[in-house]
């Protein structure tokens, strides 16, 4: 069985809608939920998710903690997606909140690119705090960075197929995946960025994905409050994933 991870931006389109959609998620079908915390500059995201960051409604601290509590009760592993530029000043508190809300791990897309010198220290710190640091790799990750991060962590690996979320560039997936596999061994790899339909899912699986993460394609359902469409999409993705497993 392959994994299905869903991505949401905190506060988008608003807290109530978001909560309603989260409540539709069935732990039988979905293996993980990623919550993106709105960033002033979500630079490695595509236009659609970027828009979700800038349009997200700020819930305030109270409301946010409440939301996280609800999330924590769903019995689905939770992962935060946060830019290091946003959390670096406040990392202790951030980690505490995540841990207390039952998060399993944290994805930091800009850590190794923009803060390479600090990255090992930060990874150690996160791991020591009791959260998993989820390595984020892409076809452009250098061998030595992959090897190093694998040695510092033990969780699954987030593999970004596309250069940013929500876009779809022609891609030869095999070489990048094979290279990471040859270094990371059998660690679980979840593929994300740019998965928009069942063909993309099947291609990811064919290329060795242990699961997929989707985000951009969910946005329109939340925006139009189309719950059936959302449920249907999750179902179709699930089927496409199983199709190959």
């Amino acid at each position: 069985m392959k994994d299905l991870y869903l991505y949401f931006t905190m506060g988008y389109p608003d807290m109530d809608t978001l909560e309603r959609f989260i409540s539709l998620i069935n732990a039988d079908k979905v293996n993980g939920i990623e919550i993106g915390f709105p960033s002033m500059d979500p630079k490695y995201d595509g236009p659609e998710i970027r828009k979700s960051h800038s349009s997200a409604v700020d819930p305030g601290r109270e409301r946010m903690l409440e939301f996280l509590k609800i999330l924590g009760m769903k019995n689905i592993p939770l992962y935060s997606l946060q830019y290091y530029s946003d959390i670096c000043s406040d990392i202790e508190e951030n980690l505490a909140i995540l841990r207390e809300s039952g998060f399993s791990g944290i994805i930091v897309p800009d850590l190794t690119t923009d803060y390479f010198k600090d990255s090992e220290k930060v990874i150690d710190h996160i791991e020591e705090s009791g959260l998993d640091f989820i390595p984020f790799f892409s076809a452009s990750s250098p061998d030595r960075v992959i090897a190093r991060q694998c040695s510092l962590t033990s969780s699954w690996i987030y593999y970004g197929i596309q250069p940013s979320t929500g876009i779809n560039m022609p891609m030869d997936m095999a070489p990048g995946v094979q290279r990471i596999r040859s270094i990371a061994g059998n660690r679980k790899m979840i593929f994300g960025f740019g998965i928009r339909n069942e063909d993309h899912v099947r291609e990811a699986v064919r290329n060795g994905a242990d699961g997929i993460a989707i985000g951009t394609i969910l946005l329109k359902y939340l925006e139009s409050n189309d719950k059936n469409g959302f449920i249907d999409l999750v179902e179709r993705m699930r089927v496409a994933l199983n199709d190959n497993s």
Binding site: T112, S164, M169, P170, G176
Partner: protein, 418 residues
């Protein structure tokens, strides 16, 4: 055996350094509000090039057809022991130069023009468009397009258009249309053209025009430098050099090249990096365009109009209009991300050279090796002369990439200073 000699030197795969970098490469950045500026490339760049751009395979197969064209256009280019220069400098080490000016279009630019035109033709494109500074890239694009019967349009930085009428003649001879930039044919051009109909232009502006024109006319935009796919294609320079040195039983101690967008330098140097930890590597830039020494390492636009994505690189600002120096090919505000990363990280040393120092270096090189090198390549030669002077008593094996010939840039020899 002749063919097999050539085939022994010409590699079967290009090399892409990204998986071997010491740090991850910051990805291109999409600052656009509407349509993704990365996604936009889908319309104007051949699919196969985008695949290469975004798949980051360490090795990329060179199609047989492209290897054949590499032979047709003069590859492998010679690696020559510059014995006359050694004698003149009284240097007891060895100086080699790789001469990319030996290609039929006169520079390394054809190395990437051919695969780009090849893929464009394979994918049924109706034509190509690009910008050119020195004229070398436009020439390469024009020929590559001609080889695949693709109509070709070139936006040429106006100052070069005026200084180098020969380049225009050659591009026309290859069948291309050449338009001085900024022009009134695109929005990005018109903005500057209206200000000053004799605006000298810049590569940044010309890129914007070419990209806009590609979108408007449904043409393929040819990538001259900066982007990783072009740099990967240029790896043929370094791969050949490694093989040629090996066949000569030599080992390089130092590599020196010039940097405009970074393609000839990176293509020359990158294939060496893994196995040669202790080499001196020097990137030579123009004092008038001091991207590494005075630029900032930041995300900045590829083109002046900001149509294309941003890249993390050393940059003087996408709206920087460089002074009118002879080295038209160095008049670019940035340098490719992978090279920028390695300069920032200290693996590659960067230095600026003034036009006067370049002129002297070109004359010494001409008088000894007989080669009228391109002004751009003159920076590499000047840096090599500096390096040799500074290491006079060490017997280093210095390898210089001479990216092009300057037979169409003779103004620099006439004592006319820009």
């Amino acid at each position: 055996m002749l063919e097999s000699y050539r085939e022994e030197i010409i590699p079967e795969k290009w090399y892409n350094i990204i998986p071997d970098l010491p740090e991850p490469l910051p990805p291109p950045l999409d600052r656009s509000k509407g349509r993704s500026s990365i996604d936009l490339l889908n319309d104007i760049v051949p699919k196969e090039i985008l695949k290469q751009e975004f798949s980051f395979s360490r090795y990329v197969d060179i199609p047989d057809e492209v290897r054949e064209q590499y032979i047709q256009i003069g590859r492998p280019t010679p690696l020559v022991r510059a014995r006359n220069l050694e004698k003149r400098l009284d240097y007891r080490g060895k100086i080699f130069f790789k001469f990319e000016g030996a290609t039929v279009t006169g520079s390394h630019k054809i190395n990437t023009a051919i695969p780009q035109a090849y893929y464009a033709a394979q994918e049924g494109s109706s034509g190509t468009v690009t910008e050119t500074g020195a004229g070398q890239w436009g020439t390469a694009t024009a020929l590559a397009s001609s080889l695949y019967s693709l109509p070709c349009t070139v936006f040429m930085v106006r100052i070069s258009y005026q200084q180098k009428p020969g380049r225009k003649v050659i591009m026309n001879t290859y069948g291309a249309d050449v338009i001085p930039s900024p022009s009134d044919m695109t929005g990005s051009g018109l903005k500057f053209f209206k200000e000053n109909t004799n605006h000298p232009g810049s590569l940044g502006i010309a890129i914007s025009e070419a990209v806009e024109y590609a979108m408007k006319k449904n043409l393929k935009y040819m990538i001259g430098s900066v982007l990783n796919s072009a740099i990967t294609h240029q790896s043929i320079i370094g791969l050949e050099t490694i093989k040629q040195l090996e066949l000569e039983g030599e080992k390089a101690d130092s590599l020196i090249g010039c940097v405009g967008g970074g393609s000839n330098f990176s293509g020359f140097v990158f294939p060496f990096l893994n196995d040669h930890e202790d080499m001196d590597i020097i990137a030579s830039t123009a004092e008038e365009v001091p991207k590494f020494t005075r630029g900032e390492y930041k995300y900045d636009y590829i083109d002046s109009a900001g149509i294309l994505p941003q890249l993390r690189m050393f940059s003087l600002g996408a709206d920087f209009v460089p002074p009118k120096i002879y080295s038209g090919g160095l008049r670019y505000h940035g340098a490719s991300p992978s090279l920028s990363l390695l300069v920032r990280n200290g693996r590659i040393k960067a230095e600026d050279v003034s036009q006067n120092e370049v002129i002297d270096a070109l004359k010494i090189f001409a008088g000894t090796q007989g080669i009228i090198a391109a002004p751009e390549s003159g920076h590499a030669i000047a840096s090599a002369l500096r390096y040799i002077k500074a290491n006079k008593n060490e017997k280093k094996t210095v390898v210089v990439n001479v990216s092009g010939h300057g037979l169409l840039d003779l103004g620099i020899f006439e004592g006319k200073r820009e």
